[in-house]
């Protein structure tokens, strides 16, 4: 049975549409519209904002400083997405082909960190990566081992281990974002792989293709919609990430969200912050438009 026309049952339609529309308009569309209007305003005095319809805020956003931060945010988000894809794909494969008994528990294992508080996870990572954290101690032990091996074969030992700075730099931001977003990637990948017709893989193996070739030529093309979904679901939040660059990054690892935040707190330049927010939203729209174009291609075939 198809959907009902709204005129056929106006009373029920009103009962379900009014609360939804009222809430969405009042608490989502209106706040967004306020940001949009502000982005065309300018500061006039300490707490005054004049809505002059100026484009100065957008012009300022195209200055090299802000363009480079936008570019850097894209680069970081793309790198994070790529690492998540490489790390997550085998995990999704393993979950898909795990036994009935194990599969739900492996899924739960991926989802539990996703449910754990983001701030707690970031803090946990900061402990581990700290100047005297376990990551540094582990690297130190490896270094010591390498040094020992070198003396064993009669070479000069390595100089003594200096703890490396693993926190408050760009490396930490990428590492932290991968840590936070990995579950986002694995779950859609799993959903796509799970729907795959396994006899195709078997056919490919029977016809003599190796496992690697089968994965690259059969599994990846068939799972493409899931891969695209996973990429989008990772890329979008990574692009707008605030907490990880704020807590784990150094002075040069600011991403666009940190710049926006600064306009609203320290710099107190709301119109400019509003313009940057909308530029970020437009960037998301472009990404989503690209994805839906990609999705239409196989349907045409």
């Amino acid at each position: 049975m198809a959907e009902q026309d709204w005129k056929a049952n106006k009373r029920v339609f009103a009962a379900v549409s009014l609360p939804t529309l009222l809430w969405t308009i009042l608490f989502f569309v209106v706040p967004m519209a306020i940001v949009w209007v502000y982005s065309f305003g300018e500061n006039a005095g300490l707490n005054e904002i004049r809505f002059s319809g100026t484009l100065d805020n957008y012009k300022r956003a195209t200055e090299f400083l802000y363009l480079s931060i936008f570019g850097k945010s894209f680069a970081v988000a793309a790198l994070v997405t790529l690492i998540c894809l490489i790390v997550g794909f085998p995990v999704a494969m393993a979950i898909t082909f795990a036994s009935e008994k194990w599969r739900p528990w492996l899924l739960l294992g991926i989802m539990l960190p996703f449910w754990t508080n983001l701030l707690v996870r970031t803090y946990a990572l900061m402990i581990l990566l700290g100047q005297q954290g376990y990551a540094n101690q582990g690297l130190g032990a490896l270094w010591g081992g390498a040094s020992w091996v070198k003396t064993l074969v009669g070479l000069e030992p390595l100089p003594t281990w200096e703890p490396v700075q693993l926190l408050f730099n760009n490396f930490a931001v990428v590492f932290g974002l991968v840590y936070v977003h990995l579950p986002f990637m694995v779950l859609p990948l799993y959903a796509a792989l799970d729907r795959l017709d396994r006899s195709l893989i078997e056919a490919s193996l029977d016809l003599g293709a190796g496992h690697f070739r089968t994965i690259m030529r059969i599994v990846v093309p068939l799972a493409a919609p899931g891969i695209v979904a996973g990429v989008m679901i990772t890329l979008i939040p990574a692009l707008g990430a605030y907490l990880t660059p704020d807590l784990m990054g150094g002075t040069d690892s600011q991403m666009i969200a940190n710049v926006i935040e600064r306009q609203f707190k320290k710099a107190n330049d709301w119109p400019f912050g509003a313009a940057l927010s909308f530029l970020l939203i437009y960037a998301m729209f472009i990404l989503i438009a690209l994805q839906s174009m990609r999705r239409k291609v196989p349907e045409v075939r």
Partner: protein
């Protein structure tokens, strides 16, 4: 290895090959090691998270006697509970609207409802900051729990689209003949909704409730922009503790929150079973 392997590995049993197991094991270690280290060090009798100096519960004592921290936790749980209830109602209503009716501008309505899922948190935070401060002149000196109103409204706005999404995919499997049968048997609209549709939606409602509760409890960015000086939530409090002084108290507080998450998951598992929970995500 040979001892444990009863049958040879079939070509498609990727998860039984050694490389795959090592990879999955490494990823799980990557995901869980930081959390486990954090939890262990919350019992460490030292000011720094470096060397183990013996077992102590004193940081739990300190955290539990830290009134500001407890207040923040109570605020967070109150907001999460309220946001969950309202998101479930609103989300289910929106799902029914989009599932049942054909109406003008449906695609636009559908898109707008799911927009909060993709709009970056920072932009939503900024929007709520402006909306409550400039748009509404929202009073900031209300008594508890009314002073949590602004944060709760913000949380409902970004939680309910997730409920809609989950409920809608569940409704897709609803056999509309059941609806007709109910009507033939004399059920009114409301009775049909209560006795036929809601039971069918139940697994999605449980999943949606879990999702809303954790999303609300987890949120930092939007709350950071919406909260006033008297309405600190747990993540905002932990953030300021992290910024200004890292003490093992933060470890203790974080451990409490992790255990709360695990407990919630366990309850959801009891209600739904691991398979359904895994599938609804």
């Amino acid at each position: 290895m040979a001892l444990f392997r009863r049958t040879p590995i079939a070509p498609l049993e990727y998860s039984r090959t050694l490389w795959m197991r090592l990879w999955v094991g490494a990823v799980m270690l990557f995901l869980y090691a930081p959390l486990i280290v954090l939890m262990i060090f919350s019992f460490n009798d030292s000011k720094r998270n470096v060397v183990w100096r013996g077992f102590t519960m004193k940081y739990y004592d300190k955290a539990l006697n830290n009134d500001a921290l407890i207040e923040a936790l109570v605020n967070s749980l109150t907001i999460a509970a309220l946001a969950t209830i309202f998101s479930l109602i609103l989300g289910a209503i929106a799902a029914v609207l989009l599932w049942r009716f054909r109406f003008p501008f449906k695609a636009a309505v559908d898109g707008t409802i799911s927009l909060p899922i993709i709009v970056p948190e920072i932009c939503m935070g900024v929007a709520f900051l402006m909306f409550f401060a400039k748009g509404l002149n929202w009073p900031t000196d209300l008594i508890w729990p009314l002073n949590l109103g602004a944060i709760t409204i913000a949380h409902i706005t970004f939680c309910f689209p997730f409920v809609t999404m989950v409920v809608r995919s569940r409704l897709a499997s609803f056999n509309r003949e059941q609806e007709e049968a109910a009507k033939d048997l004399g059920a009114g609209e409301w009775q049909m909704f209560r006795d036929v549709l809601i039971p069918h939606m139940k697994p999605a409602l449980v999943a949606g409730a879990l999702l809303s509760f954790t999303l609300s409890l987890d949120d930092f960015v939007i709350t950071y922009f919406t909260s006033g000086p008297d309405t600190i939530t747990f993540p905002v409090k932990v953030y300021s503790m992290l910024r200004f002084s890292v003490t093992p108290e933060v470890n203790a507080a974080s451990t409490i929150l992790i255990i709360l998450t695990i407990a919630l998951t366990a309850i959801a598992l009891k209600l739904q079973g691991v398979k359904t929970i895994a599938e609804t995500h």
